[in-house]
Amino acid sequence: MTHRIRVIAFLAAAAVAAVLLLRGLGGMPEFGAGHSPYRQYLNEHAVAETHATDLPSAVNFSYRALDTLGEEYILFASVAGVAVLLREPHRGKKPAKKARVPDDCCPEEAVVAVSRAVVTVVIVFGFYVTIHAHLTPGGGFQGGAILGTGILLIYLADGHEAFAQAIHPSLVHALEAAGAAGYVSLGLAAMLGGKAFLENILPLGETGQFFSAGIVPLISLAVGLEVSGGFSSLFVDFISELHRSSEESEP
C-alpha cells in the first residue's frame, strides 16, 4: 500500500469517525448533569440496605456482584493467556541451569533506597485498601493493584535473584487461585443456604464498623487476592521469561 492510498484511507475513515463522534457528543447530557434513576435509588437506599459507607464498593460487591465476578474472570483468563504464551516454547526442555545471571544493570542508588524504604508501606497500604472496601474509597481492584506494584518494587530494588527468593511463582499462583475460588465459593455458599447466588448471608452489623456490610469486605478480599496474584503472576512470568531468554542467548 503506497503512502498516498494510506492517507486517503485514513482521511475517509477519520471523516466517518468524526461524524459519528460529533453526533454522539451532541446527545450527551450537560457536564455533571446526568441523573439516572439508578443513581437516585442507590443514593437513597444503598447505605440502609448494605450497611456499606462506600457506595462504589456496595455496587461492585453487592448489587452488581455478578458483573464483578465476570470482570474478575476476564482478568483471570487474560493472565492465564499470558502465562500460556510465555511458557509454551519451553515446554519439555529441562529447567534452566543455575548459571550465574548477571544481575540487572545495577540500578541507581536512589532507586534502591526509595524502593526499599517504601515497599513495606506500599504492601500494608494495599492490604488496608482491600479490606476496608466497605468503609473508605478503594476495594479489591485498587488494593490488589497496589499490592502488585509493591511486589514489583522488590524487583526494581534488588534484582532478579532477590525477587525469585522472595516471591515464589507458586505463591502468586496460589493467591490468584484462592481469590478466584473464594469469590465463587461465597456465591455458592449463599445458594446452599437457599438464597440467590452471591446474595448476602452474613449479619450486616453496624454501619461504619469494620465488621459490617456482610459479604462485601469478603468479596473485596477475594478480588484483592485475585488481582494481586494476577498482577504478580504477570510480573513473575514476564521477568522469569526475560531471564530465561537472556540465559539462552548468552551461553
Partner: protein
C-alpha cells in the same frame, strides 16, 4: 465545571498528547505515568476517589513499571 477541573482537563489532554508525540519509549513511559497521575487528580476533582485510586495504581505505577522492565531487558540484550 470549576476552574480546577478545566485546568486538569487541559493537563490530561497535554499529557496524553505528549505520551503519543514523544518518540523515545523511556520518555513515553514517563509521560504515561504522568498522565495517569493527572487523570487521577481529575477523577478526584469529579468526586470519584475510587476511580482515582484505581487510575493511580494501574495507570501511573503498574503500566509504566511494566514498560520500564521490558525496556531494561531490551537494552541489556543489545549490549
Amino acid at each position: 465545571m470549576t476552574a480546577i477541573q478545566c485546568a486538569l482537563f487541559v493537563l490530561v489532554a497535554a499529557g496524553g498528547g505528549a505520551a503519543v508525540l514523544v518518540r523515545s519509549p523511556r520518555e513515553q513511559a514517563f509521560f504515561v505515568s504522568l498522565n495517569g497521575a493527572v487523570l487521577s487528580l481529575f477523577f478526584m476533582s469529579l468526586e470519584a476517589p475510587d476511580v482515582a485510586l484505581a487510575e493511580l495504581a494501574v495507570g501511573s505505577a503498574a503500566i509504566p513499571l511494566m514498560i520500564l522492565v521490558a525496556l531494561a531487558h531490551i537494552e541489556r540484550r543489545r549490549q
